[in-house]
Symmetry: C2
Subunit: 188 residues, 2 copies
Amino acid sequence: MDFRELVKVRRAVRNFEDRVVPMSLVKDIITDSCEAPSGSNRQPWSFIVITNKNVMKSISDESKKNILKEMEHNPSTSLSGYKAILKDPGFNVFYNAPCLVYIAGPKEVRSVAVDCALAASYFMLSAADRGLGTCWVDLGSAITDPALRTEIGLPEDHVIVGTIILGYPVEIPEKPPRNEPNILKIVP
Amino acid sequence: MDFRELVKVRRAVRNFEDRVVPMSLVKDIITDSCEAPSGSNRQPWSFIVITNKNVMKSISDESKKNILKEMEHNPSTSLSGYKAILKDPGFNVFYNAPCLVYIAGPKEVRSVAVDCALAASYFMLSAADRGLGTCWVDLGSAITDPALRTEIGLPEDHVIVGTIILGYPVEIPEKPPRNEPNILKIVP
């Protein structure tokens, strides 16, 4: 798909068809993600793929609990707008997605956040290019429980950067409004 | 350009033609960058465009000095491999690029690093789609001098995330090798 077209089609998708994403396709998208640039070509990204709905529900519950706990200590967090929905036991942060992919890397790599975000960007564009929908769900990244971290294969020294749900979209949502680009200064 | 083709063409470019990039084109690429997703659609990114070679040289000198100072305090930093080149007074971290673009955002936004990295990814892909070359030059982001920060219009509460040089490439470099994707676990 043409890049300009692709940018329009890549929208945050939160409603998915009840349809499995073939693992070979997930792997192809991950391979595309690894084409992203990274600091000193270090490629610090690793991936975890979860299609088990029970595990996704456990992660959703764990992450909601931890974010609510964080809010108690820091009521002014930018996540505070999500308080009501996080308290709803029926709310699954991953919606009805058939697949969840984590992009994580070693905490000690100074550029881990931007490197993994670049890979995540490629992931979302590659998925859109292949007719799939994604949404970065930061509400699903607060996993502290050691048993759950072990269950999903997340090493102790790794930090989750990207939390991306993946599936076949029921529809492509409208583009949320964008601000005019803010150019602080041009230095000629 | 087709996304799969575009991913191949987007390479780190460090050698540019002696040719000005029209400001309208820089602005178009910035507009494309703002199509990136961001946490809660907050779009915390701002841009600074520098085409003045003297200012770029001042920034290069300032940033080299600050990184070398950081190395004294932290000799094991991952940047230590750059020590010799940073000590070379003739080395300009921006090479011969005709244009430098900063992507920055407010420190207080918790997702500022990943949001601005997503915009940077769109920036680099959009530039490649338009026949331009880019390189993320993290060695040019260590600006602490208040006078220099004021000169380029960087607000005190902002952090530089992306430091990207832009121009017409002399050639598209070969792709540096990529590791096999590291899938830590599949949880079916």
